[in-house]
Every structure is written in C-alpha cells, then in structure tokens.
Homo-oligomer: 225 residues x 2
Amino acid sequence: MNITMDEAIVRRSLHDELVERLQRLIIEGELTPGEKVPEKELCERYNVSRTPMREALKVLASEGLVTLTPNRGSSVTAVTVDDLEEVFPVMGALEALSGELACEKITDVEIAAISKSHHEMIGHYKAKRLPEYFAANEAIHTAILKAARNDTLAAQHRMLSARVRRARYLANMTRERWEKAVAEHEDILAALEARDGRKLGIILKHHLRNKLETVSEWLKANDRG
Amino acid sequence: MNITMDEAIVRRSLHDELVERLQRLIIEGELTPGEKVPEKELCERYNVSRTPMREALKVLASEGLVTLTPNRGSSVTAVTVDDLEEVFPVMGALEALSGELACEKITDVEIAAISKSHHEMIGHYKAKRLPEYFAANEAIHTAILKAARNDTLAAQHRMLSARVRRARYLANMTRERWEKAVAEHEDILAALEARDGRKLGIILKHHLRNKLETVSEWLKANDRG
DNA sequence: TGACATAATTTTGAATGCAAAATTAAATAT
DNA sequence: ATATTTAATTTTGCATTCAAAATTATGTCA
C-alpha cells in the first residue's frame, strides 16, 4: 500500500471523528463548495472503510454542509449569497437569545474572562494581527454562548456557524468595517457587564448583520456561486 | 423467514426513509424515552440490513432524538422537563423570527388559507374534537413557517419540534388553557392580516411559552424523566 | 447459598463483498 | 468527423461478514 498513514485515526468512534475532520476540511476550504466529495480518496487518506465515511457524510448532510444526490454521491454544499441570507437571520435570532440568556446566568468570573479576551482582541486589532483577532473574537462569542447554559442553543448555533465560517474565512474586512466591529464589541462587553440582556441581544444581532454584509459583499464581488 | 413484509420499504434511499420512520416511531411514542433502540428488531421489521439503519440512527443522534453510547448502541433520548426548558426558548426565538419574516413575505392567498384553517380550528374547538383541532393548529403553524421563505429556519424548527411534539401528544390541555390557546390564535391571525411582524413574533413566542407550561406541568405530574 | 471468576452468547463497530446505477470509453453508423 | 450505440469501468447503495466489546450464563469455591 502506497498510502501516507500519518493522518490515520486512533481514538473513539470513527464516524464521529470523521464528522469532525470533514467539517474542518469543508470549513477551512480544502473541500471547496460544489466539489464532489472524493469518498474513496478520503477513505484512503484516513485509512477507514467506506462504512463510517458514509455514516459521517449522512450526518453532514443533515447539517446542510453536504448535499446527497441519490445514486451519485455527495458534494460540498455551495455557499451562495442566497444561502447566507437564509442562515444569518436564523443565527441572529439564536445569538440574540444567547445574549439574553447569558445576561441572566453569567457569573462574574465568566465576565472577567470575556473582558480579558476582549482586551486581547483590541490589542490584536491595533497591531493588525488578523488571525489572532479572529481567534479572540471567536472566543468571546463562544463564551457568551456557553454562559447561556443551553446546550440545545449551542448545538444549533454551532451547526449554522459551520455553514458560514468558511465564508468568513475568505472575506477580509475593510478598515471601516473592522473599526465598526471593534466598536460593537465595546458595546457587547458593556451590555454584558451591565447584564442588560435585551440590549445585548439587539447588539449581537446587529453585529451579525454587519458580518453578513461583509461576507456577502465579498461573495458578490468574487462570484462563484 | 417468518417476518411480516407489509412494512418493507420500496422507494428512495433506505437511510432517508428510515430517518423519517424512526422519527415517527419516536414522536408517536412507539419507541419510548430511555428505551434502547432495538436495532435488530427494527431491521427485521423494515426488512433492511444494519447498514442503512445505523446510518439513520447517526442522523437522528445528530438531531438529538437518540443518544449513542460507544460500544453499547443507541437509546431514545429522554424528554425531561430540563430538556424542554432548553428547547422551548430556542423554538420561541425561531417562531418569533418566522412570524416576522412571514409578515414581510406572505401573500394574500396564503393568509386566506391560514384564515380558513383558523376557522376550521375554531369549529373543532367548539365541538371539542381534539385531534382535528391539533391537526388544524399544526397546519397553521406550518403555513406561517412556510410563508417565512427560509428553508434553514424551517429545517431547524422541524428538528426541534420533533423533540417536543412527542411530549405535546401526551399532555392534554385543561379547559382554560385550551380557551387561552384559541384566544391567542385569534391574535395570531389578526397580526398576520395586519402584517405586523413584530407583534406576530411576540405573540408566537408567548403562545409557545404557554404550550411549554402545559407540557411541563404534565411531565412534572406524571414524572418519568 | 452467594460472591467471584470464567466461558458462551449477543451486540456493536467497521471492513469487505456484490449487484445496480451511473459514468466513461470504444465502436459503429451516418 | 460527428452523432449514436454499445461495452467496459467506476461509483454507489446496501447486505454480509468478521473481530472486538459487552452482556449473559455457567461454573467454582468460600
């Protein structure tokens, strides 16, 4: 066998592991939208048989990352502007809810941690370190979601965010947008510290809408879909 | 073979068909919460092999209807009060959004259809025909969701509603609650006809909260969770 | 008899095998 | 040469098989 085994899987159920790995491949763009999923190739790469691979693909399909066409396999779902305009309102509703719930339940310790991430993020912004900025940003949103203490909410959000994260990776922000996003984050932290759930919900929804605009402008410019 | 074949499947992909059938089994309570899913039995019943059955179970697991435990198979996820209290806020947010979007996009024809269902529902209420009432009720909510023109939203809602519908089946309403629900439906129709999205969103969220109370009271009374 | 160990059985997870469908390649006719 | 069959190949969906893990049954000894 002439296969590189260095990516072979060891722990827990294969299909579960595969779901995660394929998700990453799609989100990070190694598998590009519209492309047919090379089932056989992936099986060889991860050194698994088709059974767990196909199980994983079924799960990804139910999450909307992959599209199954009867008798002709699976392809990576394309991210179109239309698609994003569907997903974002739903995510917006979920984020708003997460903000409201978080304010009810968040602890001082958690707020402190978010505040820390926030200031780190500002530092990365000022130094124009985009990847680190993104990481801190994501940490904040994840922390808010976690503070909402609702696994169902978190799961739904995670599913949708997988569908758009890919797009977010590609679209880079203009100077003004970035500035605006940072300003919004100041409001987010303030609302959180004031435990003003309604306000936080509204801000998060707006914040997301701005992201949508960034991304969908980019998509329209670099049309492919 | 000593198996009744009358439930055997013919059309489209087996796993897809199975997802639907198992969902029904769970929602309608033939498979009860906590119970281990009798994989082999179900395979025989539907006359399929374990491969598509397991694919279907993986999908249901990602939707939260069943729980997979490594090396010891799948069991029907139990609906506890805690669980419901997680799911309902999320559904509430989605329903509110569906109300808002529906008001923006709904056609006069669709409103007329909903109005018709509404009046039928009132008829069933007055005649105390509970099952027919439920059916008309569901038709209305489905129509609103459809009018929102957002497949992502519909899909998310459908997933969550599967998790609670089962509970709704069991819990029957008191006279006052029923009356209240009908009154709320008058408001729903009115907001829809006025195309007042914000208002409809709020009403739908309240409406759902009342449902939660009905169901969770029942669950607490008949505790099994 | 009851606690523990050991063997038989069942269940589970995943690989392999096989037939039908789809795709590609080759061949024939126009 | 181009369109149209026809044949070969690949891919897909599902059944079957197999090994490992878990469960149950049986046996042993205090």
